[in-house]
């Protein structure tokens, strides 16, 4: 057989039938949340269709849930209806849901891996673009629209066209303090937000191998920000160790057979890619975005770029518009920028490792008085519980952070957590689009270490120096 990439292998294993124009792909796991599913369930009802394999789906509300005291329920009636609708739909169609008050509730992309619902070799979809996260487990995972959610519910399949293969290789030695988030932003800075359009990206190189599973999830999470629907990382011992013992992981009886299969989930040595991108780890410093697109990013030692130096008209106008929106002047040193709020959370950076790193940075220190709000939102109830067992919540509270309940929170501000117009935020989330964290809000994407160090310093700071 011809040499195949990891993506080729995952694809081939899931083709139910091939037509000239598209393939019917079998979907192993379906994650469901409240925002993109109601119209899909309504569609099923309208056509009197049932769910094909309800036990393949896992549902949880995450976007609309409050991160403060939940005993009072959801105040915003429209949010409440959406969350209740998810509950009703799951009951009607026999899908397991971890509701807002369940300890296992959390952001879909955090709870999937945490519960072992995400497994190597799977196809996994969700009505959410950051489904790419699960590619860290060598699962073919991608975001879909609501019509496709309905399609998967009804048939367990999707009509798909295969994308092209891209390999992004990161090698060399990372500077201390540089994490998966910085690698992701550096890659997007290099290839652009549309650089991966039409591709599935496989991340490789010694730096990727050395990343923890959390770091790999962060990296794959941001693949969509580079335009690629799916990102992948080959299986190694770390993958297997992470999965072992989780709730929905293979039973004792199937474990060794599963592991044997998983070890083949890597690209053949001579497999060819349509495109290859290389990064040298030594060129990556802690990253901070300055604009309104994740590709508008520089290292902490850098400064806000000057549109006057950009020759391309369209690009120059985009840069100027971004600077106007962000309230920044060209050539300002990044370390002079002072955020008003700090947000540590989102499906990019709300796992236990992220929270440990942040705790380490703030331990025994106080949040700067200029910071209006610094909040930590764990990715799931289980992450929260683990952090509390380690006493991390107390470290944060003592230093002046708010310790919240799990959910998407200020990543997209669908609940009550948001920026006011003109407010500036150091955020560990994934999108710095205009208005993303609240209308008129200004987002700088950073790693948890940078967000935590910035909370203490009151401005972006080169904490590695």
């Amino acid at each position: 057989m011809a040499a195949r990439t990891l993506y080729d292998k995952l694809w081939d294993a899931h083709v139910v039938r091939n037509d000239a124009e598209a393939s019917l792909l079998y979907i192993d796991r379906h994650l469901v949340h409240e925002v993109t599913s109601p119209q899909a369930f309504a569609g099923l009802r309208l056509a009197s269709r049932d769910v094909w394999r309800a036990s393949s789906a896992l549902a949880t509300p995450d976007h609309n849930v409050p991160t403060t005291d939940r005993s009072k329920g959801i105040v915003d009636p429209i949010s409440r209806i959406q969350v209740e609708t998810l509950g009703q739909n799951c009951r009607d169609f026999g899908i397991t849901e971890f509701d807002m008050n369940d300890r296992r509730q959390g952001i879909v992309h955090v709870i999937g891996p945490e519960l072992g619902a995400t497994l190597p070799g799977m196809t996994l979809v969700c009505g959410d673009s950051h489904t790419s996260t699960h590619g860290a487990f060598a699962a073919l995972a991608f975001g879909i629209g609501t019509s496709e959610v309905e399609h998967v519910l009804a048939t367990q399949c999707l009509l798909q066209k295969k994308s092209k293969n891209m390999k992004v290789e990161v090698s060399g030695e990372l500077h201390s303090g540089v994490t998966g988030k910085d690698i992701a932003l550096a890659i997007i800075g290099k290839i652009g937000t549309a650089g991966g359009t039409g591709y599935t990206i496989e991340f490789a190189g010694n730096v990727i191998e050395e990343l923890t599973m959390e770091g790999r999830m962060t990296l794959c999470n941001m693949t969509i920000e580079a335009g690629a629907r799916a990102g992948l990382i080959a299986v190694d011992q770390k993958t297997i160790d992470y999965v072992k013992g989780r709730v929905y992981a293979p039973s004792e009886e199937h474990w060794s057979q599963a592991v044997e299969t998983w070890l083949d989930l890597k690209s053949d040595p001579d497999a060819s890619f349509d495109q290859l991108v290389k990064l040298d780890a030594k060129d990556i410093s802690p990253q901070v975005t300055w604009g309104t697109s994740p590709e508008m990013v520089v290292g902490i030692e850098g400064s806000v770029p000057d549109p006057a130096k950009e020759k391309d008209n369209v690009k120059r106008e985009n840069m100027q518009r971004a600077l106007d929106y962000m309230g920044l002047k060209a050539n300002t040193a990044i370390t002079e920028i002072k955020p008003d709020k700090i947000f540590i959370g989102s499906c990019t950076n709300s796992r236990i490792e992220d929270i440990r790193i942040a705790a380490q940075m703030v331990k025994g220190k106080k949040v700067a008085t200029s910071i209006k709000l610094a909040m930590i939102v764990p990715g799931s109830g289980l992450v929260k519980q683990q952090a509390e067992q380690e006493g991390l919540d107390l470290i944060f509270i003592e230093s002046g952070f708010e310790w919240r309940e799990p959910g998407c929170s200020m990543c997209l501000a669908m609940n009550a957590d948001r920026l006011e117009s003109g407010e500036r935020c150091a955020s560990t989330s994934n999108r710095n689009f205009e208005g993303r964290q609240g209308q008129g809000g200004r987002t700088h994407l950073v790693s948890p270490a940078m967000a935590a160090a910035t909370a203490i310093a009151g401005h972006f700071v080169n904490f590695t120096a």
């Binding site: 139910v16 094909w52 629209g145 019509s147 496709e148 399949c157 549309a194 209308q439």
Partner: protein, 216 residues
């Protein structure tokens, strides 16, 4: 699904690249559990001067006179001309729903984000990819004073511009057929139930751990 064959309509040029789905339809409107009614909030942050919330009477909100969709001459436009990487960001199908609800039938750009592109086809909205140069030309001729009309013929894969010139565009054949026939994709897949079951059975033997039941 509604069929799409030919369409003649007015073009509105939105001269921005990387327009993301958060801009097309801001998150507060995603709380709706319906599929319709998003049109009045299309590009809400750009279109109105106040900050929009669900349930507002949009007809009395202050509109932003500088935003292109609000100019008198572009009212009732049904073809959106825009720049590269249109529809990037979140997978929300609310974005094509809002565009459709507003009255758009066609979007022309040099490139689209993958998920958005595929979502359009599920909603009888035709995204047309043209070269950078062709898009530049269209921007030039669709000036403020005189909006232009285009004739789009999906079957022929052509766009007729006012001077009579014809541009060809590429489109994947399967997607084209789905639009032309107004096909229900789920219904199509349902025809292969037996094959899906066969695949499942075989897979269950090969990799039983993939079929672990998710239960509380």
């Amino acid at each position: 699904m509604r069929q799409f064959n030919k369409h003649t309509g007015k073009v509105v040029p939105l001269d921005r690249s990387n327009v993301d789905t958060d801009q097309i339809i801001p998150k507060q409107f995603l709380k709706s559990i319906k599929r319709s009614g998003f049109g009045p909030n299309l590009f809400d942050d750009w279109r109105y001067l106040d900050s929009g919330e669900p349930g507002m009477d949009n007809s009395i909100r202050p509109v932003n006179p500088d935003f292109i969709l609000n100019k008198d001459c572009y009212q009732a436009a049904s073809i959106l001309l825009t720049r590269e990487n249109f529809g990037c960001g979140s997978s929300r199908e609310h974005a094509p729903w809002a565009l459709d609800d507003y009255g758009f039938r066609v979007i022309i750009a040099p490139s689209f984000a993958d998920i958005f592109y595929s979502n359009c086809f599920k909603n009888a909205l035709l995204p047309i990819q043209l070269s950078e140069e062709q898009v530049n030309n269209l921007f030039e001729i669709s000036s403020l004073e005189q909006p232009i009309n285009l004739l789009i013929d999906l079957e022929q894969q052509t766009i007729t511009i006012p001077n009579g010139d014809i541009l060809k565009f590429e489109i994947d054949n399967f997607r084209k057929q789905c639009l032309l026939d107004g096909l229900d994709e789920i219904g199509l897949t349902m025809q292969y139930q037996d094959e899906i079951k066969k695949y499942e059975e075989q897979r269950r033997k090969q990799a039983p751990w993939l079929f672990v039941e998710i239960k509380a």
